[in-house]
Symmetry: C2
Subunit: 109 residues, 2 copies
Amino acid sequence: MERTPPHPEVDQFSLQQVLEALVDPVRRSIVAQLHARRADMACGAFDLSVSKSTATHHFKVLREAGLIRQHYVGTSRMNTLRDREMEEAFPGLLTAVVRAETPPAPAGA
Amino acid sequence: MERTPPHPEVDQFSLQQVLEALVDPVRRSIVAQLHARRADMACGAFDLSVSKSTATHHFKVLREAGLIRQHYVGTSRMNTLRDREMEEAFPGLLTAVVRAETPPAPAGA
């Protein structure tokens, strides 16, 4: 009884689609939060400044670009960063965007 | 008698503006051609599928984002990739985009 939405395979990833996903600051924030947490996160666990329906749209754009994988656990939609697959398709790209998105830790922290 | 248009300094670079510049395929092509040539190029020297006035707009967006530097030599507007400054601001980003944009050379080439 899986309800897994469609996901592109690595060889279907498009640089254009990935950049269109990453050009939006809310979507970059989702990716950065997933990267920082280093674990799956439910849609409701993100710190986002947009409505739930807008967030749902952003998750869909990220999923269709191949940046995240979504699956259900009970009634929660869980999100996984597809960082290794993205690295395979576009080496260094996701790492560079996350690094640029995330301010460096203060010295001594 | 310089006619150099304004350019942002490195500490004025904005990730949002850089990604908005790089999300356009014509602008990525300009950046990739500059990177491949490893030399300054006049606006007219690029292989682009758009009109001259559209190209001028794209060069302006790239300049304002900090991706290229423009200066005049006689009546030619020359373009320089600001790859080192971009690397300083957003490490790995431009390299990753250029690499993703440029198809790998055929084996044995």
